[in-house]
Amino acid sequence: MPAHRVVATSQVPWREEPNIAGFRSKTLFVDSPSGASANLYWVPPDHGVQVMFRRPTRHFHRTVVERSFALGGDYPHWEFRNPDDTTGELIVFRRGTFMDRPPLSLHGLQPEPRSQVGATVLNWDTGGGVGLDDPRAKDETVTVPFRDYERYNIPFTSPRIFRHDEQPWRAHPRVSGWKAKALAPRHGTAAEVALVALPADAVSKQAVPGTHERRWLFVVSGSLRVAIADADGEHRYELTEEDFLEWFQPAKLRFDHGTISDVGAVVLCIGHQLS
C-alpha cells in the first residue's frame, strides 16, 4: 500500500453504489479485511420510492461506527429512540450536517418527505455490512419492523447529528491564528474528527507524521498547498475543494514551503488536526 494517496474526487466518475440501491458513489478508500471505507455518496431526488416501495424502513448496526458530513442538497432521514418509537425524528441532512453514529442506533426512512434535489454526503465507517445490499449486512445490520417487532435486549443508542455552523470555532490548540471545531472524539477504531480552518496566507512549520493508522483529510472549501515526505522523496500538492488526502507512516505531511493557502481553507480532518 502506498504511504500516501491523493484523490481529486471531482475528477472521479460516479458509479452505481453496490451496497445501497439507488445511490451512486465515489470510493475514497476500502480497508481489508475490516471493510471500513470512506465514500462520497450521491442520494437521488425522491430516493425511497424505488427502494422501499413507499414503505418505511429502519435498521441498526451491531458494531460499526458511521460518520458523515453532508456536502450539499437535502436528505430527509429519521432517527428512532428504540423499536417502540415508530414515528421517529425527522432530520434533513444539508450542507454542513455532521453525523456521528455509534453502533445500536436505530435509523431509517419514512415514505415522506423525500429528498427534493438529491444530496451529496461524505460517509466513512469502521466496517462493512452497513448498506442493506452488502452481503455482510446479514451479520452487521438488523432491520427492525414497525410492528410485530421482537423484543431486543439491547441498549439502543443515539447518534449526534448537527449542523457544524451551530458550534463555535475555537482557537486551534497548536497553531496560532488557525481555528478548529472538534466534531467527534475517537470511538474504538473510529478516529477523532475535526474541522480546521486555515486563514488566508496561512503559514506553518508544523508536520503531521503518519501513523500505522490512516490519517486523512477532505477539503470542504478553499485550497491548500501541502507536501508529503515519504521514502520516495517529497511530493507537493495543491489541494482544492473536495480533494482527499490520506497518509500513513513513514509519510509525513508538511507545510514548510511558504504560504499554505491564498484564501484559506476549511478542512475535514480525521485522526489529526493538521498539526
Binding site: P44, G118, P168, P199, S221, V266
Partner: protein, 275 residues
C-alpha cells in the same frame, strides 16, 4: 419594497421552476417589470432534451451563473453553422457571463449524472423555454437548415474561477478580490471577494454606499457578520454559507466593531466589491 432582504437559502423550500420544466428553484429576487430574476436552480440528474438536440439564443438578456454543485453538460455554438458545439461541463466554481446573441443548448448525451445547482441571475425574462415571454426574447436555432440570421453572434465567458488569481482588494488591506465580469448594460459588475479570518474594521460604519440599484451578495463559503443601516435603525445579520443579502438605498452595508468573520468568507458580490 424593503430596503434590504436576507435569506438563508439552505433552509428555503424548493419549488418547481416555472420557466424551465423539470428543474426546481429557489427564487431570491424577481423584478415584476423586467422579469429579471436571481434564482438558485437545481437541475435533476438525467435532465435533457429527449432524442433531439436543442439550442437557442437570447436577443437582449444578459445571463450570469455561478455553479455551486454537481455536473451539468452544456454546449456552446460559434454560430448557426457550428453544429457540434463545445461541450462545457458546469461544476462547482464555474462562472458564466452570457451576453445576448450567444447560441447555447443541449445534446441528448451526455446528460447530467447527479444533477447540478447554480445561482443564476439575469437582466430580464423570456430566457426559460416555458416562460410566457420566451418567444419575445429567445430564438430557437435548428440544426438542419438553420436559415440566415442577421445577428452578430457573440461568445460567453465561461471559466472555473480557480483558474484566475486572487488580487489584493483595491480598498481593504488584507482582503482579496477576483473580478469575474464587468458591468454590461443593466447587469452590474461581478466579483468574488475574500474577507480574511478575524478581520476587524478600522471603524464601524458603512462600507458600501447606497444606490438606487439593487446590490447583492451571496456567501460561497465561510460566514460574515454585517450591519445594515437605515438612518437610526441598524440590523445585525450573520450571513452563513449560501446566505443571500440584497439592499438598495437608503440601506447601507457596514460592519460593527470587532471581528466580522471567524474563519473568513468568500463572497459573490454583484454591483459592489463589499469594501
Amino acid at each position: 419594497m424593503e430596503a434590504f432582504r436576507h435569506l438563508d437559502t439552505t433552509t428555503m423550500p424548493w419549488a418547481p421552476e416555472p420557466t424551465i420544466k423539470g428543474m426546481k428553484s429557489k427564487v431570491l429576487f424577481r423584478d415584476p417589470e423586467s422579469g429579471a430574476v436571481t434564482i438558485i436552480r437545481s437541475v435533476p440528474p438525467g435532465y435533457g432534451v429527449g432524442d433531439q438536440p436543442f439550442r437557442h439564443y437570447h436577443t437582449s438578456v444578459v445571463e450570469r451563473s455561478f455553479y455551486l454543485a454537481g455536473d451539468f453538460p452544456h454546449w456552446e455554438f460559434d454560430g448557426p453553422e457550428d453544429k457540434t458545439g463545445d461541450l462545457i461541463m458546469f461544476r462547482r466554481g464555474l462562472f458564466m457571463d452570457r451576453p445576448p446573441n450567444t447560441i447555447h443548448g443541449l445534446f441528448p448525451h451526455p446528460k447530467s449524472e447527479i444533477g447540478g445547482m447554480a445561482i443564476s441571475w439575469n437582466t430580464g425574462g423570456g430566457v426559460g423555454v416555458d416562460d410566457p415571454n420566451y418567444e419575445v426574447e429567445s430564438i430557437d436555432v435548428p440544426f438542419e437548415n438553420p436559415g440566415r440570421f442577421n445577428v452578430a453572434f457573440t461568445s460567453p465567458r465561461i471559466f472555473m474561477h480557480d483558474t484566475l488569481p486572487w488580487n489584493p482588494h483595491p480598498r481593504v488591506k488584507g482582503w482579496k478580490i477576483k473580478p469575474l465580469a464587468p458591468r454590461r448594460g443593466v447587469a452590474p459588475e461581478v466579483a468574488l471577494v475574500h474577507v480574511t479570518a478575524d478581520w476587524q474594521p478600522a471603524r464601524s460604519g458603512a462600507v458600501v454606499e447606497p444606490t438606487d440599484e439593487r446590490r447583492w451578495m451571496f456567501v460561497v463559503s465561510g460566514g460574515l457578520d454585517v450591519v445594515v443601516s437605515q438612518g437610526a435603525r441598524q440590523d445585525a445579520i450573520a450571513l452563513k454559507e449560501h446566505g443571500y443579502l440584497e439592499w438598495r438605498a437608503p440601506a447601507v452595508i457596514g460592519f460593527a466593531a470587532g471581528a466580522v468573520s471567524d474563519i473568513g468568507a468568500t463572497v459573490l458580490c454583484v454591483g459592489h466589491v463589499l469594501g
